[in-house]
Subunit: 490 residues, 2 copies
């Protein structure tokens, strides 16, 4: 697959801009038809898509089929959302011409799409966070044309999905260039896409280095634009002391599954386990170690990721005070990730910032705290995360209220007695979090609210009813939820 | 007033962080008491506040009294908003333990405050956009402690208001350091405030150079933070040809008032007038010129602003193809801004980017377009704006649908047959817009939605009911609007 030229990048953005000026005014109903057609066309690709994705990513069939379901699922979820129409946060304030000292004008406001969006898909989700992934589908739902830069690790999968999206656009009457697909293994293509003046927002899922580079580029533009980069998280899990006494075996089993799921290649992989030293923790570590020894190495997404896992995990082993608690009994080959659990004292952890960096793969670090105060200190110094989890009974968690209070500042999602992997696609999901988990903690990458990343409010003052968007017209012809003169209703 | 030292900046942020960890959990009702007390204490300052503000800003008494009303008004508006509580955008998805292939967990989400906020007040609104201005009050309403850097042009006014806010905090039981007030005429104080790791967001109203410098600093931090800078807008007004035939006199009168209001020192001042050449435009310019000649020069906010106005307006006069259409008959003194209207052909305007820069003061540039196509070209190339206005009948505007379609991309607020000055404080207001109008077009600085700048979503998964925030508890004890399993209700 040949990289796009800089001329092709420029032409793509110009075409996207032209598409935007009509697509942005398409009704929710029309956009819903398009999104549902995308789901249908992806399903129509049949086994070829599954086989191609399996071959390019080394992921098993069941996982690819599951991910395809998730992808078509979010197409249909956003179709329902934009067909219902209330996502635009409409507010209507009617005029008070006789108000003193000055009349109040008629003002109405709604969200409108932000403009052409460039999407960089993820290596680890060749379907659900890639070409027709959450970023692409939420941007299209908002009314933004999308240009996808195909992930170089799964170009064939990307091209198949792109064909499906293009076909869906054609048969539902979308404008030309509402969706475009470029190849670009080099940094130059990505850079040109982000720097182009007609690009209005960027979606990215991947490494901290990659996401931060795009964020910096976007902010250095003459006109800065938002970059939604979902990057780096070690998803701390806090095990409370009493819970470990009785529940260590169950917790160990849950965490072992979560750490090794998909060869640890999830952004919500639990890479850090925090607990206070004692018999409970010892029993937990022994049980977790037993599970990890039994877990088989798995072939990673591509050789670069396997190499990176080997380098990162080995680098951790050379750090002061690290103990290897368990490795898989099988070494695996160079393409595989070997599950591994290591531990360190909180004192060493607090001294060594490298230990708080993500090791992408089936790896977790247990931090042993001397006491509750030291646990609190570690929690206070955590970086931003996608998730933080706490294992404990309701009574014990209530005793740790001040720690929970701090954890809320550290993450986009808090979980009680559950593992961070498994990101439900629903209105209440928040897949985001403070930097470096993402570049913008105010938005989610998963769930219906992901659409808000690609929209901005516009107020219409003193508009004749006929010239207003339907969402803001008198009589609420679309029947959406609105705030009218301060009151919710429809 | 002595500048804060860097040690004092550090201490202020540490104290704000401690305050945050308790203040963020205060109920809407408690926060509402605080905000209403701020309004009461500002009113209790009585004539001293009015006199001080008049002396420091050269603004007339009626304007200061009006602005005080606006300030106490937004305190009470945000009090009502947080007492009602629905602003947190609560979403509840209850568990489906028997769902296949995997159970659905219980997930609930709401907006939580982002952390300590640093506010840089505006010179041109010593009350409504300054110490207890929209940024401060919306941040406090969200649950964020605020550190205000007093504007060096009105230190006495700022200190008086700060005393009122501190008194209100004390008598309503707010944590220490929920509000702090520092002086800092030097750039170093502002820089230190923005760079401090405990600062989580910044509000700014002022020049493009100032806002952009803070934005860049914030993005270069190890942990980037959002900067809401409301900066630069020339608020184009498009006069459609037919409307000029019959309505030129009324339009000229409205625009003359808007251009000269408050010596043109509003961010929504109409600094650019676009129209197609012809008899209608000639009549309009003649009528506008007559009004501007009669308008008296006014003393500007401070000498720096008066000097800047003189420099910028004189620089415009030296540009190719500029015609002075009218100046005030009175020259005024060096502290005053002399109303002035100039004109230029669209051809020259399109060649010279300097002509699209803001001239802060009672100044407007009429751009004469050869025909409708040229008008469209000028509109296509406009920078981001707070507002764009169009004057025309409903029928004529409908003919210009494609131009309106482009204007939506250029501004945060569109106005039909009205002037951009006069920013209503209400749920439907959007005071924001694409860069360089602001650094973040996705948020408003005025109206109830301004609170969203200082909040981020957090999801709570599998939480026992007792450990959830009240906003997310079963049975909706606060009676707020929520989306429960996809359905709006309360």
């Amino acid at each position: 697959m040949k990289d796009a030229t800089l001329t092709e990048v420029g032409s793509a953005l110009k075409a996207a801009h032209v598409a935007f000026l009509s697509f942005k005014n398409f009704s929710g109903k029309k956009k819903a038809e398009f999104l549902r057609a995308i789901a249908d066309e992806i399903e129509a690709l049949g086994p070829e898509l599954v086989q191609t994705a399996m071959r390019e990513t080394n992921l098993p069939e069941a996982r690819i089929i599951n991910e395809r379901g998730r992808t078509t699922g979010h197409c249909r979820m956003f179709a329902d959302l934009v067909e219902a129409g209330s996502w635009v946060d409409a507010r209507v304030d009617t005029a008070l011409p006789n108000r003193m000292p000055a009349p109040k004008p008629d003002i109405r406001k709604m969200l409108v799409p932000i403009g052409p969006v460039v999407v960089f898909g993820a290596a680890n989700f060749p379907l659900a966070y890639s070409t027709a992934g959450g970023d692409t589908i939420s941007a299209l739902a908002a009314g933004c044309p999308v240009i996808v830069k195909a992930h170089p690790a799964h170009p064939g999968t990307s091209l198949l999905v792109a064909t499906a999206v293009t076909k869906a656009a054609g048969r539902t009457g979308m404008p030309n260039a509402v969706f475009q697909h470029l190849f670009g293994a080099s940094f130059e293509v990505g850079q040109a896409l982000v720097k182009h003046p007609l690009t209005k927002a960027v979606g990215f899922t991947g490494s901290l280095a990659g996401g931060k580079a795009l964020f910096d580029l976007a902010n250095q533009r003459p006109e800065p634009i938002p970059v939604f980069a979902e990057m780096s998280s070690i998803n701390p899990v806090v095990l409370l002391p009493q819970s470990l006494q009785t529940g260590f075996a169950k917790t160990a089993s849950m965490l072992a599954s979560s750490i090794t799921l998909g060869v640890g290649q999830f952004c919500t992989n639990p890479g850090l386990i925090l607990a206070v030293e004692g018999e409970g923790l010892n029993s937990f570590v022994a049980a977790l170690a037993a599970e990890i020894k039994k877990a088989a190495p798995g072939t990673m997404l591509h050789q670069g990721i396997a190499d990176n896992y080997a380098t990162r995990s080995q680098r951790t082993l050379t750090q002061q005070g690290i103990t290897v608690e368990a490795q898989s009994n099988e070494a695996g080959d160079a393409a595989q990730g070997r599950p591994m659990i290591v531990s360190v004292s909180a004192k060493e952890f607090l001294k060594n910032p490298l230990l708080a960096e993500e090791v992408f793969g089936p790896f977790s670090l247990v931090v042993k705290c001397a006491d509750r105060n030291e646990l609190h200190t570690v929690v206070n110094l955590l970086h931003g995360q996608l998730t933080c989890s706490v294992m404990g009974s309701e009574e014990e968690i209530a005793e740790y209220e001040s720690m929970i209070n701090v954890l809320v500042e550290k993450a986009g999602r808090l979980i009680i007695n559950g593992v961070p992997t498994g990101v439900e696609v629903c209105p209440s999901m928040n897949h985001g979090g403070p930097f470096p988990a993402t570049t913008d903690s105010r938005f989610t990458a998963v769930g219906t609210d992901a659409i808000k990343r690609f929209a901005r409010p516009v107020a219409f003052q003193n508009f004749p009813n006929a010239l207003l968007p339907d969402e803001l017209k008198d009589g609420n012809p679309l029947g959406i939820w609105r705030v009218v003169n301060g009151e919710f209703g429809k």
